[in-house]
Amino acid sequence: MINSPGLNATLASVMRNDRGRLISALIGALGDFELAEEALSDALESALTHWARTGIPNSPTGWLLTVARRKAIDRIRRQKRFQGYTPEITHLAKMDEMDANANAPDIADQRLRLIFTCCHPALAAKTRVALTLRTLGGLSTGEIAAAFLDTEPAMGQRLSRARKKIARARIPFVTPAPDQWGERLNSVLAVIYLIFNQGYAATSGTSPTRVDLCDEAVFLARLLDQLQPAEPEIEGLLALLLTTHARRPARQNSSGATVALADQDHALWDHEMLGQGLDLLDRAIARGASGPYQIKAAISALHVGAAREAATDWHQIVLLYDALLGFEPTPVVALNRATALAEAGGLDQALQEFARLSPDLADYQPYHAACAEYLGRAGDHRASQAAYGRAIALSGNDADREFLRARRDKAAQKGSTTSREQ
């Protein structure tokens, strides 16, 4: 007999590493997301009883796949009791027989198809994120609900509706055709980037960094890079995530407040991860096909390099934002460009840009934080203090509020000194 904590730990580890592989193999065989999920959870239940009695099998993943297929046959039989003709069962039984003859079943890797299906543009953006985390990341419905400030039943319903839509509208379980590849890949990259950002800047609670979701995004980006090697935008995304994630330990001081990049203790950075990210970016750029994630990674890399050498090449960063605007002409990218422009010595031009962007970014916290900083530098202290007030009110976590309050108070002191001098 194996004790149940040990057994649970083994199962959890198998699921952590192989869930995506298992579920994609099952969907490939069954052509049905819901049935695959149900059969896999049947198999897990069965593993708990059998493994406790007979010990953990040589290939736990192979065992789970074989049992899940049998469970699927049971479910199809129950559903189709009155229909007699069941080609699926014949097909599945044949696969089962083939497995029985092989020592360790060979599980064809269909995870790339699975990623593209979970990130299909016919699903809502939030649904794509949730389905990817559930299906490939193996996060529980409760964990996903918590990460997105949703209730568990609401998230459960969202996932269930998505699986139903995939089945009933027949969203295909395939990697997209070459003429669709670019657009569909963008959707996958956007989902992973969204997961990372959700983890990086959690909008509520006391800890701004949800390590789990950042790790999850890095895991997914690595998986994607492994499944589809030499794709420069995948490499660009992974490089962006790694160069950002490597700086995480230095982003908060001991009292939990956010620390600006320029003030971070570089010894706290994960230099191995940083190196991986920078190498990856070099490889991506050498392929000669630019794209938004490579540009974002290049900007991130410039910030890192500058922090090491204490001089940021802001002109280069402005140029990179110009290139990024070509791919993503959004107000947020324009704001980042204006910020870089202010740092590059174009403060007046930057302030004009801020004014132009005001209607689009009225509820965007980083917009007001940037206005506060640069209005202060231009000597307009009253407007700067007002902008700090709005930025603090719009902050979703304590670390960011603390950071902005400290800056506001420092700026207020400076402002009153300046007015006395005048």
């Binding site: 027949r170 295909p172 997209p176």
Partner: protein, 120 residues
């Protein structure tokens, strides 16, 4: 699987009859129809007369009520449809995107219920 592509447009949008743009627009429909026939996906497709010709009917309390006008007064109106037979949603979206109205209106793609879907 069968998919219905419902063609919605806002009144007054799109090329006006009699203009060269309208000619190109109609030719776009003819070209799309050729592709649908060539690929063997076309089951049916029609344009509908304007909503000023619409009548809505319902029975309430055993009495037939007719009303002048469409079911719902919305900015975007149903102006026509196609019925496609294709492999999956990706194919249906591909053919729906060839409908010229897609450039200024919206095409809603809906799978058609099959006998096994009833009761689901």
């Amino acid at each position: 699987m069968q998919y219905m592509a419902l063609i919605y447009t806002e009144e007054g949008k799109g090329p006006k009859p009699g203009t060269p743009e309208f000619g190109a627009f109609m030719k776009g429909y003819m070209d799309a129809n050729e592709v649908y026939k060539r690929d063997g996906v076309l089951i049916a497709g029609d344009g509908l007369k304007g909503i000023d010709t619409a009548t809505s009917v319902r029975i309430r309390g055993g009495k037939t009520e007719t009303m002048d006008g469409p079911f719902a007064e919305t900015k975007e109106r149903l102006g026509g449809y196609y019925l496609f037979e294709c492999e999956d949603l990706d194919a249906a979206i591909k053919y729906a995107a060839m409908i010229p109205t897609v450039a200024f209106g919206t095409i809603e793609v809906r799978p058609v219920m099959m006998p096994e879907d009833y009761g689901k």
